[in-house]
């Protein structure tokens, strides 16, 4: 079997989801800010060309922020996303690149146009005529939104591959069931972020209060799409797989809490902007604007966490589990064993008192490490702290039944028992000696029966 084994890195107490999440959330926040920023500046430039000098000053000031923040950290965290995804799930990013490389190349062209138009405006904007300024900003706004269009199809495919699973081809995967709600939702988020960042920038401008207030009201209108987000969220919820929806709406408390954080923060922002600024005509000072922007960051973070978590037990639904194994490979490894072809030694081999524990550590690395740590965040030792020996064996063998968002165990009874011994040993504090063969009678025949009973199908059908 041509199953590639990649070396596995650990990140101390951080589970890999936090590592990719940290980079991803920052990147998404900045990228969406840049997209909304393009649209916002295009609108303000039009206003400026109708005689509003303050709008012109805002466009030039805002663009500097955009270039300094988004063009540097935003662009580079995009590169970091690739590198980090390789670190946490090389096969997932490999499959995405294989399947969508021409669309990724297409997105790159739009990105290049965005950067060129953006730098040109930043550098030469004040020297350009009105028509050229507007066209350049229009090109920048279009290109940045088109980047979102292409990447959104690739990312939403991971959760809802749709008819692509039936062999209907790449375009069926790209225009998948969650493509449009995701795209519109992200566009609304981008617009809101740009409006809030705009309010921060306007507050730093040297203008009389009344003129600032007028600009803030204009910028705030860009946050109005936030009012449509509940409907878009419902649309998204309606098209995602039933089991994913169930995790988000009560099936998994952490996921439900993140849904609540995202919804609550969005409600607060939307309420303040629409009722406070647009209806009641309140002003928005720099402290409040910054606070709202921070809330928006929190909402983005929670939303991205929800989007990532909803895919469990897959990274690409129906195709690749979070363990970076395909369903076919799981079936194969049930026969051959999880680590029999793993070429990489343990980095801490000397820690383990015997070969069975080393075996268990390799099984942990191959099957658990993608989402868990041993004793850090989402630590397996803590999760199984109170389980009895047989409970450990049963729950690991029937993993997809233990928790529906876990993938099926991809190994033999020997692998399960080695992992059980490792977890017990770690739970005991890692003593210098360990009687791994003391278990009588041999539990492996029973584990084998459990593995056979549960089979290799996931808890929920992928389609």
């Amino acid at each position: 079997m041509a199953l590639p084994y990649y070396p596995v890195n650990e990140f101390g107490p951080l589970m890999k989801g936090l590592v990719i999440g940290g980079v991803g959330i920052l990147h998404v926040f900045l990228a969406q800010f840049a997209i909304g920023g393009g649209l916002l500046m295009f609108a303000f430039e039009r206003r400026a060309q109708r005689g509003d000098a303050d709008a012109r000053a805002f466009v030039d000031g805002y663009f500097k922020v955009l270039v300094l923040v988004s063009f540097v950290v935003g662009a580079l965290t995009g590169v970091a996303m690739w590198f980090t995804t390789i670190q946490v799930g090389a096969r997932t990013i490999g499959l995405m690149v294989d399947e969508f490389h021409w669309l990724w190349a297409t997105e790159w062209v739009w990105f290049a146009v965005e950067v060129t138009a953006g730098y040109a405006f930043y550098r030469f904007g004040p020297r350009l005529g009105d028509a050229a300024r507007l066209r350049l900003l229009g090109l920048y706004a279009l290109a940045s939104w088109m980047s979102l269009f292409w990447i959104n199809g690739i990312l939403s495919w991971q959760l809802t591959p749709g008819r692509w699973l039936d062999g209907d081809g790449m375009w069926a995967g790209f225009f998948n069931p969650s493509f449009w709600p995701s795209l519109l939702f992200r566009t609304a988020v981008a617009s809101t972020l740009a409006a809030l960042a705009g309010c921060v920038v306007i507050n730093t401008m040297d203008l009389p209060a009344e003129r600032k207030r007028a600009l803030i009201r204009q910028a705030s209108r860009f946050a109005v799409p936030i009012a449509g987000m509940p409907l878009l969220a419902l649309w998204f919820m309606a098209v995602i797989p039933a089991d994913s929806r169930q995790w988000l709406l009560g099936g998994s408390m952490p996921m439900t809490m993140f849904v609540g954080v995202a919804a609550g923060a969005s409600l607060l922002i939307g309420g303040y902007v629409i009722l406070g600024i647009l209806v009641k005509r309140l002003t928005l000072n720099i402290a409040t604007a910054t606070l709202l922007l921070a809330l928006a960051f929190g909402a983005t973070a929670a939303g991205e966490f929800v989007r990532e978590g909803a895919r469990k037990p897959y990274t690409v639904r129906g195709v690749l589990y979070s363990t970076s194994l395909t369903p076919g490979e799981v079936r194969e490894l049930r026969v051959t064993g999880a680590i029999v072809n793993d070429p990489y030694p343990l980095r801490d081999e000397a820690r383990y008192p015997d070969a069975r524990l080393e075996h268990g550590a390799k099984v942990f690395r191959a099957l658990c490490d993608a989402c868990h740590t041993m004793k850090g965040t989402n630590a397996v030792v803590h999760l199984v702290q109170t389980w009895s020996d047989d409970q450990l064996r049963l729950n690991l063998a029937k993993l997809q039944r233990t928790k529906g968002f876990m993938p099926p165990f991809a190994g033999t009874a020997d692998d399960v028992e080695a992992l059980v011994q490792l977890l017990k040993w770690e739970r005991a504090g890692g003593p210098a000696t360990w009687a791994t063969l003391a278990a009588e009678p041999d539990p492996r025949p029973q584990i084998k029966r459990w593995l056979d009973e549960v089979g290799t199908a996931p808890a929920q059908e992928a389609r």
């Binding site: 590639p4 990649y6 070396p7 596995v8 890195n9 990140f11 300094l68 540097v72 662009a75 580079l76 965290t77 995009g78 590169v79 970091a80 590198f83 980090t84 390789i86 670190q87 090389a90 990013i93 490999g94 499959l95 690149v97 294989d98 399947e99 969508f100 490389h101 021409w102 669309l103 990724w104 190349a105 297409t106 790159w108 062209v109 739009w110 990105f111 290049a112 146009v113 950067v115 060129t116 138009a117 730098y119 040109a120 550098r123 030469f124 020297r127 350009l128 050229a132 066209r135 350049l136 090109l139 290109a143 081809g169 790449m170 375009w171 070429p343 990489y344 030694p345 980095r347 081999e349």
Partner: protein, 319 residues
Amino acid sequence: MLPGGIQLLWLALYLVTFALHAVFVGYVVVGTGYALVQALRRTDDPIAERVRDRLPFMLGCGITAGVAPLLFLQLLHQEKFYTANLVLGPRWGAVVPALIAGFYALYLAKAKPRWRRLALGVGLGCFVFVAWSWTEIHLLMEDAPAWREMYGAGERLYGNAGVVPRLLLWLGAMATLFASVAVWWQTGAERKRLAMIALVGLATCGIAAAILVARGASVEPAARGWLYLLAAATVLHTGGWVWTLRAPDKSGPLLVAGAGTAALLVGAVVREAPRLALIDAPRPAALEASGLATFIATLAFGILAIGWVVQTIRDAKAE
């Protein structure tokens, strides 16, 4: 020797976009070094002034241009690239914060004379670190036997003796690339200075290549034709610089640009030659992926759009 079908197209796109990326990053690395030297000597000159002004933009272009070869590299050498990434681990990931720090340092050097020397020093350190890291990962990708040992030992540095001369070769090439771009914005004595930088860069390339050959490096027989082309283009390119040195306001830069472009593209092929036999076996998902027509149409639009932006700026400058 060459792959066929769609893999050949990936390879061609990889080489062309890599060459484009090299032009921008060459300008940034050596430009930062040049500006730093001038800042330390406190002898600001027109070259340094212009370089400082353009460095952030050129780095932005370099990073943007670098995304495309990174994409095609993942199609051609997926398993090797990913494995080398993972073996080097967080140490490899440090290239991103280094680039962010370097980027802001360039803005600082441009805007704040008081911090200029420190900012340029930090920027240069960051960029050389990134160049070294890429050289390291390139060699590690080809050294599959080292992966297991490095991983087991937790080694994050690839101590291959080829890293230093290869990096030296690149720094020499970058000096030439920097001068080849900068020469168009200068005249007279500045052009002469840039010609000297380019010739020193070419000499550095020669020395580094000699070290690599002495250490056993060779070009596969099937790629020798490309090597001869590279030699011929380099001779012409060198001639262009000598001409520029003697008559800076004549047409030397034209020869420099023409022969330099040829040398860069052919050099990219020669650089890739040892890896051609290592290109991944075709993966069905990648071979069958659609979207090429969309990419071509978007590329055509993108070229036109960028052309329009350039023309708009020219018009604005003319006015």
